[in-house]
Symmetry: D5
Subunit: 136 residues, 10 copies
Amino acid sequence: MSTKPSAELPTFDNPNPERDYEIEIINPEFTCLCPVTGQPDFAIMRIRYIADQSCLELKGLKLYFWSFRDQGCFHEAVTNTVLDQLVAAVSPRAMEIEAVFNIRGGISTRVIVRHGASDKLGRVAGLKSLNPAVFA
Amino acid sequence: MSTKPSAELPTFDNPNPERDYEIEIINPEFTCLCPVTGQPDFAIMRIRYIADQSCLELKGLKLYFWSFRDQGCFHEAVTNTVLDQLVAAVSPRAMEIEAVFNIRGGISTRVIVRHGASDKLGRVAGLKSLNPAVFA
Amino acid sequence: MSTKPSAELPTFDNPNPERDYEIEIINPEFTCLCPVTGQPDFAIMRIRYIADQSCLELKGLKLYFWSFRDQGCFHEAVTNTVLDQLVAAVSPRAMEIEAVFNIRGGISTRVIVRHGASDKLGRVAGLKSLNPAVFA
Amino acid sequence: MSTKPSAELPTFDNPNPERDYEIEIINPEFTCLCPVTGQPDFAIMRIRYIADQSCLELKGLKLYFWSFRDQGCFHEAVTNTVLDQLVAAVSPRAMEIEAVFNIRGGISTRVIVRHGASDKLGRVAGLKSLNPAVFA
Amino acid sequence: MSTKPSAELPTFDNPNPERDYEIEIINPEFTCLCPVTGQPDFAIMRIRYIADQSCLELKGLKLYFWSFRDQGCFHEAVTNTVLDQLVAAVSPRAMEIEAVFNIRGGISTRVIVRHGASDKLGRVAGLKSLNPAVFA
Amino acid sequence: MSTKPSAELPTFDNPNPERDYEIEIINPEFTCLCPVTGQPDFAIMRIRYIADQSCLELKGLKLYFWSFRDQGCFHEAVTNTVLDQLVAAVSPRAMEIEAVFNIRGGISTRVIVRHGASDKLGRVAGLKSLNPAVFA
Amino acid sequence: MSTKPSAELPTFDNPNPERDYEIEIINPEFTCLCPVTGQPDFAIMRIRYIADQSCLELKGLKLYFWSFRDQGCFHEAVTNTVLDQLVAAVSPRAMEIEAVFNIRGGISTRVIVRHGASDKLGRVAGLKSLNPAVFA
Amino acid sequence: MSTKPSAELPTFDNPNPERDYEIEIINPEFTCLCPVTGQPDFAIMRIRYIADQSCLELKGLKLYFWSFRDQGCFHEAVTNTVLDQLVAAVSPRAMEIEAVFNIRGGISTRVIVRHGASDKLGRVAGLKSLNPAVFA
Amino acid sequence: MSTKPSAELPTFDNPNPERDYEIEIINPEFTCLCPVTGQPDFAIMRIRYIADQSCLELKGLKLYFWSFRDQGCFHEAVTNTVLDQLVAAVSPRAMEIEAVFNIRGGISTRVIVRHGASDKLGRVAGLKSLNPAVFA
Amino acid sequence: MSTKPSAELPTFDNPNPERDYEIEIINPEFTCLCPVTGQPDFAIMRIRYIADQSCLELKGLKLYFWSFRDQGCFHEAVTNTVLDQLVAAVSPRAMEIEAVFNIRGGISTRVIVRHGASDKLGRVAGLKSLNPAVFA
């Protein structure tokens, strides 16, 4: 029953493409490597999107995030990359990626990247960090 | 005193149809089956609506949600279906369904679907998941 | 020193009618009876308003809420009734009543009713329920 | 890939039987039926135990809890039954089952049942309810 | 389907009298009248007990608590009375009643009364108040 | 080193008058007397403002708030008075005073008063009460 | 209807002197003056006691705490004094006073003083400070 | 491996200058000296910005904040200064600095300063103070 | 400046071996692989110990935990292994390892293993899971 | 009005030496330097003690903690040193120092050191960290 990380992003048909509605997916288990020190980094990744013709399949998405486990990634670049790849996969009407990285050097970082008609995405509270004090 | 699940949605006359006001109903006990694995899924369902001539009756709504207990449901589709069926039952001026599904494969999912003049619905904070409580 | 419930709503002169400002009053001790089963119901009631020439007197308001203790009330209707009676008493420039009812049949209910220039009322977070999990 | 509920409780060999140590497993997705009304009930189930020669296998445990989905169960009895069946399966040195049931009739219920040398189990905070207000 | 308050306390047979186990029941909707001012008082009532031959039936317990709605009660006395009456009804091996009363005059009150082998009751966190700041 | 309450409000030159920026000052230790009963009242006072040529000096502000300790004050009037006096002292471009008073008679009160271009003040969450349950 | 601070401590007969039970009273509105600077100090005061023949009357207790409003008090000394005076008033079997003072110079202080058979007082969580709420 | 405080602000090339996206950096370890008393002050500093051609490098930013450790700083002035220096370093399209200072004299202070097209920055909840944690 | 995972555990001399005192170290970034599915698992690891002649060096400990990143580990076994290896490295007077694993199949797991005079370790609250934060 | 850091620890006479009572002092603003990297470290320091003939004076204690600002300190050693110096200053009947250090390298550290009859100190919950997630 062994599975593998995969950069592919399987999709399924949006069951209600006639309607703009919002899908939110949160993965609190994102981990990659720091390209400078080689040490592990950790983040929560949140996807919010309005699907057009296709939706992200959850099991595939899990394997996709897993594929970053051994890659060196800068915070700003990897958040943009995830957005670009998910947009390429499902061509959403709107999408937002929010990544909250664990404290390094006493400092927390969050990156928020948007695509398309992102003002259609309802306002929700910001993600909490895994080291949540500072984000409240 | 035994009761049964029921797909019917009894209603009652809106006591104040001359006024746009907001009704919110939260059911933290929604459960259905995963159509792929057949295993149980769990969600909190929140309804927010502005009634027109009729309102949702709570006891009937409970039996309605119960009727999903043995059905196979995809997250996106079932949230849209609940909206369609509630809209058909009470023809509201505006309605929003928000469903927060329990963690599967380390990932949380939320779906938010709206109908009608949904900008009349006041902004409230997003629902919490059922999962956070457990260690607390 | 005994007091009694009273449907009257004493008022006092608004000390600053030249200015639009917001007054919020929260009563977490509202109780009435279910008109169907006759059993007690419980709610938090929140009033937010911009006074015109007169303001609600707190001690009188407490006795007013007490007068519902033995009345049968539907959730939607009683929230509208409270708004109507408070509006009749102080003719506010704007007013909002928010009522959060305790869980019945596993389900929570909130009703929000507004009068007048309610967009002048600042946005504040929704009330918590006395069974707060689901409203968070 | 479909699975089924199962009353069996697969186990595996305790990797460190030479040592008393504590294993805690929390299932916030327990659901059964009320034997009086036939309606669904919901609970969080927490198992804490000190294994002897064998340990509870998690995937099997999930299927075991699933097997209660269509059974009628009283709160006190089902908590005792779960303890008896888990004790029969792994003969632990100590075990505690704590079940927190959702609010019914405005009232929350928790049942805690212990077996064996339960004073060896470290003190931890009580479980929160899915309707957590009252348990804090 | 109308029901009435009742001072009776129906019971059922303890399904597992051979074992000492703990049952906790929380009613956040206790209300009575202040015997001095006649005004409503509010409290959360928590029962924790180890049953002997019989257990408290939940629906009956709800009606029992309802019977205090129009009675004048002092905080200390009513908590002792509830203990006495529940002990009379089920002759438990151990029982604790904890009552947390809402703020009056800026001051919160909690009363905790115990009967029998109360050291067999596990330690759990204190109840939160409905005005929870001060109890945290 | 003894100090005294003082109705004066010392100020200092705004170091950056060329820019609209927001200053928030929270005093959770406001106390005055109820003009009806003579008993102490307590509140959290929050000032948010955009300075023009001068800023409020913190030590002086503390003495200013202290000067209310023996005064009888109605909730609505005192909040307006504080605004008027602070506006007179620093002539801000915008200012908001929010006062949250402790529970009296089971009821919480909050008053929010604004002056000038208050829409320039960013939205922040409402203050918590010292009896915070109901404001959350 | 005006009232006055009073150093007297009215009591009433313990309704159940045959039983050891615990009474907890929390006053989050204690204020006195710093004997060094003359400036106001603030604290939460918690009383926990097991009554013998008499109990503390709440309204009188409120007036008693009020009598400290214009007194200069050191943290350690005033907490001991409150204990001594309450013990003199009701001769309890056990009593504990816990005082949590607001932050001064960046530092919080708590003083806990006990009298008599204080091990009979159940363990409850420590008080929260008044300070934490303000930004929340 | 010893490092030193540094007023320099190293940068790196924005990997995605074609897109407006938001970067948030939180430093809960800002400390400087009070210019009046010479005593240490503490704050959380939050930076939110939309980069243009360059981004703030985290390790350098840490050393930059460290360079304030022995400087005397007024709350309002230092927040403006940090904004000016960061703007000079990266010429962002928009930037906001929010500083929450620890309680002094019972009073909390927060300063929020913005530059450029700050309405492009999404709304997030206000920072928490460092003070709330301590008793919790 | 690149570093590598390492199974070695560097230590330093206990500066105060004449005294029993408690050291707690929490790593919320533990990750390994599930030996059955090959997929990543995540946990918080907490070490609490009373040092004898040597202490765990933090930077080395971080590299040690990193060395599990590509190993297949069962929950119960890996917690015991970590205890065995840390005990071998520093021969503590007492040690406890607590591991809280993320939700899998809707179920959370915690393992607590102790060595030596573990009753000398003060009681502290159980760890929180990583999962609760995400919606919050 | 300028003040200076000082290693001296002024005391005052215990007003109630005839009684064992507990004093808790929390300083969330402790900062020193890392002896390896030279960079700032941050901690919350909590003192809990039972005074004998003398008590710690708060203003002096603040200056004492300030004296560590430019010192290089290891976590374990500095906590022991603070205990030794406070014990030397006031010869308490019992004392406990708890220090919670901010996250470094993704890892939190807490050190708890005790002196004298520390079992006389009541159990209170552990301190929260300034990065509180992991200590909860």
